[in-house]
Symmetry: none
DNA sequence: AATGAATGAGCGTTCATTCAT
DNA sequence: GATGAATGAACGCTCATTCAT
């Protein structure tokens, strides 16, 4: 009963292309991947990719946006409902690692591939990245004000350390160390480590 | 008996090329940098680069090896002389951040550029990276055995988190956030945070 | 028995496409024009164009044929009714320039765009072009036999010069030099110049 | 004894490429010619062309500039030394046709191929073309003031007609009509025709 | 050793054309 | 007939690498 879709999208072709892109990018890296390889993996013609994405680079961008949108939505909607800063911090940790659990390819794309396009990294990812850091720093600050966290540690430094630690955990996991399913356990342990470190003496 | 390399090296041309490479790679990224640009920045002809390095990729590899060799030597020679695991962990932190302090370009190359060559990342950097992680994990393990660190946290996880946190700190610093000179302060704060987190209850 | 085309044509869609093509070709040139642009300007779908024309090139061909058919018909039907060679030559001049007067786009298509497809120029336009030249040469020859024109000038050369001159006049007019409405005046002046040059001493 | 050349140019590689380009462009047209075909015809690698020319389009531009520079130089240096307007007009005619005599390929490039790149035609060729027309118009005007030419014919119209006629003559010659060597004869006849037409009654 | 002109494989992207609906 | 999403062949250009000097 529906009229024609707004633009293309009848079949899940866009989705198929994105799914193919994660796989191929993860295996070969961004620059070493030819657009025609993504097309073949997606089962579409080379040109079809350009009906859905402006360029190879935009394909990577869209991938990132598409997969991370849940995460950002969660940050906006769910986090504020948690009562304390420690709970919120724990939630962020679970979320960032949970996003990747079971999606090794995606993990590799986000931790490694995304950094392969300098332009993309500086113009596109950096702002989102900074916003994410700011959100974490805000939680730390609130915890300090509420007396949950020791006040002598820079929230911004903490944010960067937390993000980096999670990224590092995901990176080694993606590159093949650590057993599958380990991310959940890692999340708990890291949260313990961090919250203990942040606790008042 | 001399440690000096077998070939070339008289004129320091190899060094000039490496120095130029750090600068140009940091500014433009690995893939976006043309070999001819490095040549021009080093004041040599394009072909000359190939007298000292087998390929553009090997140029990046060599850069990494050259700059990180101090760090590895330090790990082998100096660390064991420190009496306790906490002291050794603190030293590693100071070292990794200290390597980069004052060398923003190098920091960017190691935190960002190195990941731009997938092959390099997987074949070359990963082993060294793992060795580094193992060294950190060993310290944690020793600390746990000595009763300095709580025993319920995976040394390997800790290693990855520590490396990632330091890398994340360096990354944001390299990309322009945080004031210059902040790395030293960051090192102290992070060490406090970490050691408190690791301490026995 | 009807002269109307066998297929299609009811809706005047073919005409709409041709009209759109003149405009777009004139503005952007043959190669720089995308079929989809003509389609959009004509208000039809891309594929529709292929119901009326076999290819982009045939679109240009048809355009030429369609617009020039009047001219060729005129040459066959009206010219012979004129009594003298000078009168016929003057008529040809008025006709060739008159065809374009008020149709700047068409003028540009014929003087410039037509030459942009080498194949079209050599295989399609050349024969028609030669027929046209021959017709002019015939007039000159008749004039020489009738004693109206000096006999020492090659009719074929004259034909080429006349066509070229008219084409050159139209070209500069189409490209923006010379005021609108100038073509009629130009026709008269050029006819004076030519007939004087051809006259017996 | 000479030092290294200013930029490349040791061998006549630039010349070889231009020579090859005239031939291939003339045979296949601008758009239908692949850069690799020009390279092969010139006996150089594809990439070499880009050491001498910025783009395929600039190759055509350079061709035009290179070949027409003699003509422009002649217009500036020699024409003014001729005593009367009729002599100067005759000289222009001989020159324009003489440029092409014996260079059928060049003739085709100038009369046909040059018009195949719309951008080139409008941005590059048009100004030079207009300058050329102005030069011819100036001669006609001088002739009128000196009483050599009838005053009732527009110099600018005449210039366009002359250029067009010569272009048309060259075009048919280039496309295969008219015997070789005919251009010289054509020049004389056309000059007679034109000067008679311009003469005072 | 040093040079830098020359090489040529490689690839992102466009767009005329097709065809399932 | 009409549509427009899909196709995939085609090509200009770049740049790491080589090698004659």
């Amino acid at each position: 009963m529906s009229e024609t879709p707004v633009l293309l999208e009848r079949s899940g072709k866009r989705t198929r292309i994105l799914d193919a892109a994660v796989k191929v990018f993860a295996r070969k890296g961004f620059h070493a991947t030819r657009v025609s390889e993504v097309a073949k993996a997606a089962g579409v013609a080379d040109g079809t990719i350009y009906l859905y994405f402006k360029s190879k680079e935009e394909l990577l961008t869209s991938l990132f946006e598409d997969r991370v949108s849940h995460l950002l939505a969660y940050m906006k909607d769910e986090l504020p409902t948690l009562p304390t800063a420690p709970a919120r911090l724990r939630a962020v940790i679970n979320m960032q690692l949970g996003l990747l659990e079971g999606e090794r390819d995606l993990a590799e794309v986000i931790t490694v591939i995304l950094r392969q396009s300098t332009r993309l990294m500086k113009e596109f990812a950096a702002p989102q990245f900074n916003a994410y850091l700011d959100a974490i720093a805000a939680i730390v600050e609130e915890g300090q004000e509420a007396g949950d966290f020791r006040p002598d540690i820079s929230p911004s430094l903490t944010a960067r350390a937390v993000f980096g630690a999670l990224d590092g955990i995901a990176l080694t996991w993606a590159l093949g160390r650590a057993e599958p399913g380990a991310l959940a356990r890692a999340a708990t342990q890291f949260a313990d480590l961090l919250l203990r470190g942040l606790a008042l003496p």
